[in-house]
């Protein structure tokens, strides 16, 4: 029950089917990696989970701790505990990081309840220190003019402030230099725990050297074609995806 469970999910965009009967489960307490070639539908999966309205879900279900989230509004899904670290975080001009995260936290409180501002800033500064983000950044407009790596770190800052039950991280490692990668991995590792399930979408083994996954899934053409332990990622790293392709071609559909 305590898991993010995707059952036979199919979804399409503009009439084109991208997710094809995909099934995958990330229990609380585990970190799973999702790998797969470009254009295979990983980001599509992430956005469908988050309730993006452009995608048409044609079948299946997604259960968050047993509760269906398909068909819910994006903010309802966020409140239900799902966080998506975007592959391409959006810029929100004029809205400071501090105000943005504060509004996001406030949205989780009951009507009339007010966020404790001093405690909030204290926690924000702690997390920023941990992620080695200059405190001055808190007053900068969200992602506006940020470098690729700064944007990714800012995603993790939001994730650690919002403390979601389930995290989907879409290529958070791409664009990070080696030092930043370690800092981000450290931040994610600190969030690991029995109360949280994490799905890490990545192309590179190097991230998985720091965030060692409990399971690795290989996605190909809109579905999961292989699941294994962290060794599977290493195998992909050395052999690429061709063998997956060949195996699939060789096996009866």
């Amino acid at each position: 029950m305590s898991q993010l469970e995707i059952r036979n999910l199919s979804a399409s965009i503009e009439g084109q089917e991208i997710l094809k009967n995909l099934s995958l489960a990330v229990p609380k307490g585990e970190v799973h990696a999702l790998m797969g070639p470009n254009g295979t539908g990983k980001s599509t999966l992430a956005k469908v989970l988050a309730g993006h309205e452009d995608y048409e879900v044609t079948g299946g279900s997604v259960l968050l701790d047993g509760e269906e989230i398909l068909g819910k509004e994006p903010d309802e899904i966020a409140h239900a505990g799902l966080f998506l670290a975007f592959q391409y975080p959006l810029e929100i001009p004029g809205v400071s990081i501090a105000n943005f995260i504060r509004a996001a936290l406030q949205s989780r409180l009951a009507e009339g309840e007010k966020l404790d501002a001093p405690a909030y800033y204290k926690r924000l500064h702690e997390k920023m220190d941990l992620l080695q983000i200059d405190r001055k950044f808190s007053s900068r407009a969200l992602n506006e003019g940020f470098s690729g790596g700064e944007k990714k770190r800012c995603e993790i800052l939001q994730m650690s402030m919002l403390e979601p039950s389930y995290c989907v991280m879409d290529e958070t490692d791409s664009g990070l230099d080696i030092d930043a990668l370690k800092v981000v991995a450290n931040g994610v590792n600190l969030m690991r725990g029995p109360d949280r399930g994490i799905l890490v979408i990545t192309h590179y083994q190097r991230l998985l050297d720091y965030i060692v996954p409990d399971k690795v899934h290989v996605m190909y053409d809109g579905r999961i074609v292989r699941t294994g332990d962290s060794e599977l990622a290493k195998e992909l790293e050395s052999r690429g995806y061709d063998w997956v392709r060949e195996e699939l071609a060789g096996s009866p559909a």
Binding site: I92, V95, F100
Partner: protein, 470 residues
């Protein structure tokens, strides 16, 4: 960013949408004629020169066409014969809230005015339909010779100063609505700040329309004498009526040598109000006139605050924010008329169009060639939320002479569906996400506002954006 910024404010989009049944002692009835003017003049017990001024203005009003050759044809839906031009419960405002009639007092209490007065204002005038119901100022200012009264009282008690500037900054024939105001004006503020007196806290007026099919025509005249400083703030609301309501004010500002005058508007009209206002200031040598104009709500707003830079090194500034929601048209802008050397002007306009909302910017900068060392900076930014919104910019910059310089920048940006999705993924509702985007867009301007007004503006934007989500 500071720990004291106010991020969360209770959202109550219906705050201004209520009205009371009031027995009016004075009611000029519907329609506009010389008799209407006689009724008003009689009710007020006015001097003859004012009545003559009014009647002359009525003739100008009748003669001038609606400016539909350049402005919205929606103006044609104003039926002048169906409007009530004067409604009041008496002419003399109370100096204490206790003496204000109950339903009027309750109105302003619900709008938070007495509380604001206690907190941060140097003086308050509260106008209910045609006349000020309450007007008071801190004793210390009275002792320094500051005058802050309703315009009816100003005309009676201080005719020598009033008459000297009245109708001089904005002549009756300036435009059809200025003429209308000149014919039937009532209420508004009269302020005089003596030489060298610096009023550190703002003076505030609050304009409330309570009656349906009513026209509010306040007339404000502010004179900042040499070297003085004053900030005036106006707020306004009306409940949502079935029929349209007209608000047509004239505001004249005079900043004498070295004076600084700041006029802040945070308007929140309901969406059946035609808001057609003429605002202009004079700045003499080394003086400064600054308009901060925030336009939210109304069916059609037409307003182009201006500054006539009459003396050397005078400065003029217009900072405006307009939010046009579904079914609204904000036609706003600024005028800068340079008439002396080394005068500078600055215009920053930000407009937001939502849904079918429409925002138009009209600017005019005039620098004749015999002047030198003049500067103007104009910046117009538009934000569109959803593809149906439209925005138009009509900057008219007339600059002659080599010794003068102008800078003009304009931008149009959009709040994308992906930005909204991103914010909603963090837990914000659609309305909250749009509101945040709008607040972000105006953020750099609002930061310059006095704290209380930036909080109020943010609250209004929140309400408006929450209300725009279907």
């Amino acid at each position: 960013m500071s720990d004291t910024d106010t991020q969360t404010i209770d959202i109550d989009r219906e705050r201004g949408n209520f009205r009371y049944e009031v027995d009016y002692e004075y009611d000029a009835g519907t329609g506009l004629s010389e008799e209407t003017i006689d009724y008003i003049a009689n009710a007020k017990g006015e001097d003859e020169w004012i009545t003559n001024f009014r009647k002359k203005a009525l003739r100008v009003f009748n003669k001038l066409p609606l400016p539909t050759h350049w402005a919205s044809r929606d103006l044609e839906s104003i039926i002048f014969d169906k409007i009530r031009y004067y409604l009041s419960q008496g002419q003399m405002p109370s100096r204490s809230w206790d003496e204000v009639p109950d339903e009027v007092k309750e109105t302003f209490e619900r709008l938070g005015i007495p509380e604001q007065e206690r907190k941060f204002l140097a003086g308050v005038e509260a106008q209910f339909d045609s006349e000020a119901a309450y007007s008071n100022m801190k004793e210390a200012l009275r002792k320094e010779g500051v005058i802050f009264v309703g315009s009816s009282e100003g005309l009676k008690e201080h005719p020598e100063i009033f008459r000297k500037f009245f109708g001089k900054v904005i002549p009756t024939n300036d435009n059809k609505f200025a003429a209308l105001n000149s014919a039937v004006f009532s209420g508004g503020s009269f302020i005089y700040v003596p030489p060298g007196v610096k009023v550190s806290q703002p003076l505030q007026a609050y304009f409330r329309i309570n009656a349906e099919s009513f026209g509010q025509f306040e007339r404000t005249l502010i004179i900042a004498d040499e070297g003085s400083e004053v900030t005036y703030m106006e707020g306004c609301t009306a409940p949502r009526f079935e029929t349209s309501t007209l608000h047509s004010a004239v505001v004249e500002l005079v900043a004498l040598k070295g004076a600084k005058l700041q006029y802040i508007t945070v308007q929140n009209w309901s969406d059946n109000v035609f808001n057609l206002v003429t605002k202009r200031g004079w700045a003499e040598e080394d003086a400064e006139v600054k308009w901060i104009d925030c336009n939210i709500g109304s069916r059609l707003t037409m307003k182009y605050p201006g500054v006539v830079l009459k003396g050397k090194r005078a400065r003029g500034e217009v900072i405006s924010i307009a939010l046009a929601n579904d079914g609204q048209h904000q036609d706003t802008g600024a005028k800068m008329v340079h008439q002396a050397d080394e005068t500078t002007s600055n215009i920053v306009s930000k407009s937001i169009s939502v849904g079918e909302g429409r925002a138009t910017y009209r600017g005019l900068v005039n620098m004749p060639d015999h002047l030198s060392g003049c500067k103007n900076n104009t910046e117009c930014d538009a934000l569109l939320i959803n593809t149906n919104s439209r925005t138009d910019t009509y900057p008219a910059i007339n600059v002659q002479g080599n010794g003068n310089s102008v800078q003009h920048e304009a931008s149009v940006s959009k709040v994308s569906a992906e930005q909204i999705f991103y914010m909603r993924q963090r837990g914000l509702s659609e309305g909250e996400a749009m509101s945040l985007a709008v607040n972000g867009f105006v953020n750099d301007l609002v930061r310059e506002f006095p704290m209380e007004y930036s909080v109020e503006l943010k609250r209004l934007i929140d309400m408006e954006m929450e209300g725009s989500v279907g």
